[in-house]
Symmetry: C2
Subunit: 529 residues, 2 copies
């Protein structure tokens, strides 16, 4: 198509939502003229399925659960008075707690008030809050927010080193829906030890966000933590950012959580729209379907041209890949569905991997995210009548055009401004798009059976470690190879796992394991003197 | 294969390099028994090509340049005395400059000394330094390091807000090989304005890292900046981390750059090894070739189980995708080669996208990166005789096993410790693997013709912006649609580009453009009163 024809296509397909301060341009996706109409019945069914989901149908069929993240920003839509009350009370509790911390009504054991917060959580309990913190926060935040989102000892030390002089003014928020996530449990125990080491009582600095009755809930109750805030069965981790999981860190940091919820709520309303041309989430889902032939055959490259949105593609990796990456569809057929997401930010990525997008395999489609408003305050000129922000825009559209000419497709999503409201809308947009796309390909977007496999294997590895140490200690200071130890454990087949456990133990002091080199690396001997 | 057979396969293929404190395990890649021998002639040729490249052959044939990043850590290998001297002098200059800044020999205009540094650069001039800063730095750094790696006005404001009270003690390092990178130029101009605004003379706080004679070099000379450090024609941006580009920020931060160089140097020596089984870079390149059938048909998912290496996959995205993502091979055939890289860190990603790896399409291979040493100091127990680090290891091997059982391949790279030396080795390992793989698929790994396309398009867009403003001003306050303005410019076909320029301008105050809404979004009118 030439430039005039592209302008016509742009005009024809542009989806403008002034209510969200958002536009979606799908003109650079090369779908045929009849594509949208060919998909209209399937999309109508998907929109109807989403309506039933929002009405309280148990949409997560495998786990027999309702899917209620949309109610979090419109409690009146929840299917029972009890749920409506719980949700409204949850929001009020978050706001009241943050206000009380900010005003000094709630104080730490020592000192005047809290000025920093460490959020301990992983996956859905960390990525949303991290995105919000990075997208909306800065040096002027009411409280400094840091995250422990892994069971990496060095990573925890790094956070603790930064805050070690400040622990007496640091609040720790432990986030785990089930309360049993091991990485989070470990982070909590390491932090509790650090507070103890500083002569502080952890409970007087701790808040839990968890389901009522969970192990974490019991522990926090027993120890008398500052507060417990609710998570619910009907909210999945990757869609929990508009629950206390996301709202509490945001409110503590100083974000206007009502604005954030209002943005998500407005986008939910807009994306219930049955007229597909006016529904940006439906158009996104259709474009993903078009690009990957409904099989995820092209990677989704997400390029926000705004530093503050650099975590957004990582957030989408979770939301999209964990929701859509499924071995079986809802009919039980083996489908191995998925939709791979990667990207960081523009223009920066233009100097990194865009070379491959421009010249390499036709294995992706791009999503450009533009923010029209450059900054608060005026810009300096970097050339006569040209600002840094003009260049940012020019690089975006330059790259979009260059990719198009190279035969590579792209979507462009434009936000007027980036703020709490539009971030809420952006997140809700993708939540809805994922839900609709999952309907198109008939997978359950709300469970994650594959995650359990790795957890189970890790538990087995920990049990194996205990057995290996016991076998080694039984040698009374004698040395043995992994082969010999595995045999002594009565698990000769587990020799490689034993080897990995002992190689790790030998590089760390806690278990007293020593390593005696050998000619062949797999024949090293280990001992506990 | 059962566990015993896997242990045999593990033993057979394990590549242990005690000289690097590194092992490479390829046992979970399902190549056939004769695969390595079938590739031995091709790999021998690749190793020979790398020998010629290191000897000074113009390996970047399209641009007629030598490829000399390996000389940066072994100057004696450079092909002329002049180069050897330049490289040695460059390292000494970096160390001397950092020492003089640390001791206060070099001081800012006001105040006692510099305690913060802003690095302005993009792509190869930022990602390497960012990786080093994150992997090796922390709260105890000698100087705080921040980056401006984009032309995002809001992103620059964020860095400046954090340091605004500290600009009088902040050094700015502007990094651009050519000196003409527009994003970097813009960042430099915005920072210079901020220093001026604080009543400071930018030149007394500025250092340039650039090629002699570049525009940046001329400007720095003319204005009397604190120092100019060299970049060379024979070092590409994405392999510049062992030049002043990476060494200067690292040295200022307090990293031992000699250790970093020593690690890279040792890895270079190890990966010149002709015996493939002992050469981890050759094995990596072969595994990439195997996984993607020499066509990049599977994505490379990089999962370091260490928070400090979370940027490593982003670093590799650039190194791998910019090097290998090429439309044509060296024989001029259209090949559209590439190798997609993504990932963040484990275990965290297990709670994000590993669900899709476990159950979704067979479109990737994983690279696990393990660090055996957990932390400085001892760990608390999170269960009886179990540490957080034991869990980290268990999750890694648990996920590796679960993926294997699901029919998904993986590589595991183990480092004894993460420090300046092993980080240098890790970077050098992947540089060499990329070089070898490029030989296997016969592409030039050292140019980036696709990057120019976006730049060129952006320059055109800036020119168009000027013309659009001129046309709008010529209306003397009158309003017109994008269609009308494009027609008035004599460029009716450019209407969409004009529309984007004006929509952006209307949301920002600098150009005085106003927007008058219309019924149809593409028919809005613009004016400059």
């Amino acid at each position: 198509m030439n430039e005039r024809e592209l302008w016509q296509r742009y005009r024809e397909h542009l989806c403008v939502r002034p209510d969200l301060g958002m536009w979606l341009d799908i003109s650079r996706m090369r779908f045929a003229d009849d594509y949208l109409s060919s998909m209209s019945a399937a999309m109508a069914a998907a929109l109807e399925a989403m309506r039933r989901l929002e009405a309280g149908e148990k949409a997560n069929i495998d786990e027999g659960r309702m899917v209620g993240h949309y109610w979090l920003r419109a409690p009146e839509l929840a299917p029972s008075e009890e749920l409506r009350t719980q949700i409204r009370r949850g929001i009020e509790e978050v706001k009241a707690f943050a206000r009380d911390v900010h005003t000094g009504q709630i104080r730490p054991q020592r000192g005047e008030g809290f000025y920093a917060v460490i959020v301990v959580g992983i996956g859905g309990s960390a990525l949303g809050p991290q995105l919000v913190a990075d997208a909306l926060g800065g040096a002027d935040d009411v409280m400094v927010v840091r995250f422990v989102d892994n069971t990496d000892p060095d990573g925890m030390d790094r956070v603790l080193t930064e805050l070690e002089e400040a622990l007496d003014g640091t609040l720790t928020v432990v986030v785990s829906k089930s309360g049993g996530t091991l990485e989070t449990r470990n982070g909590m125990m390491e932090l509790a030890a650090a507070y103890r080491h500083a002569g502080l009582n952890f409970a007087q600095h701790a808040v839990a966000v968890t389901q009522e009755g969970s192990i974490l809930h019991q522990k926090a109750t027993h120890e008398g933590w500052l507060r417990m805030l609710p998570m619910w069965d009907f909210v999945g981790g990757r869609t929990s950012v508009t629950s206390a999981v996301g709202l509490l860190p945001a409110a503590l940091q100083g974000v206007d959580v009502e604005e954030f919820l209002a943005g998500a709520r407005a986008c939910d309303a807009a994306t219930r729209e049955r007229e597909v041309a006016r529904n940006p989430a439906a158009l996104l889902a259709l474009m993903w379907h078009y690009a990957g032939a409904g099989r995820g055959r092209r990677n989704m490259v997400v390029l926000p041209y705004r530093d503050r949105l650099a975590l957004f593609s990582r957030y989408l990796q979770q939301l999209v890949m964990e929701s859509l990456g499924k071995a079986r569809d809802r009919a039980g057929r083996e489908v191995h569905q998925g939709l791979t997401v990667y990207g960081n930010k523009g223009t920066t990525d233009q100097h990194a991997f865009v070379q491959q997008l421009q010249e390499g395999p036709d294995d992706f489609f791009a999503t450009f995210i533009q923010v029209l408003h450059d900054r608060d305050g005026e810009s300096v000129s970097v050339e006569d009548d040209v600002t840094s922000g003009d260049y940012l825009t020019s690089f975006l559209y330059g790259t979009r055009d260059a990719l198009y000419r190279a035969g590579r497709d792209s979507i462009t999503l434009t936000l007027e401004r980036l703020n709490a409201q539009s971030l809420g809308a952006l997140i809700a947009l993708y939540e809805r798009a994922v839900g609709l796309y999952a309907e198109l390909i008939n997978v359950n977007a709300y469970h994650q059976p594959g995650v359990e496999v790795g957890k189970h294997a890790a538990r087995e590895a920990i049990a194996l470690q205990r057995a290996a140490f016991a076998a080694l200690r039984a040698l009374g200071g004698g040395a043995a190879t992994a082969e010999q130890i595995a045999a002594a454990m009565g698990r000769p087949e587990a020799v490689e796992a034993v080897f990995h456990v002992l190689e790790h133990a030998a590089q760390n002091p806690e278990h007293g394991v020593q390593r005696l080199p050998a000619d062949s690396p797999c024949d090293v001997q280990f001992r506990i003197p």
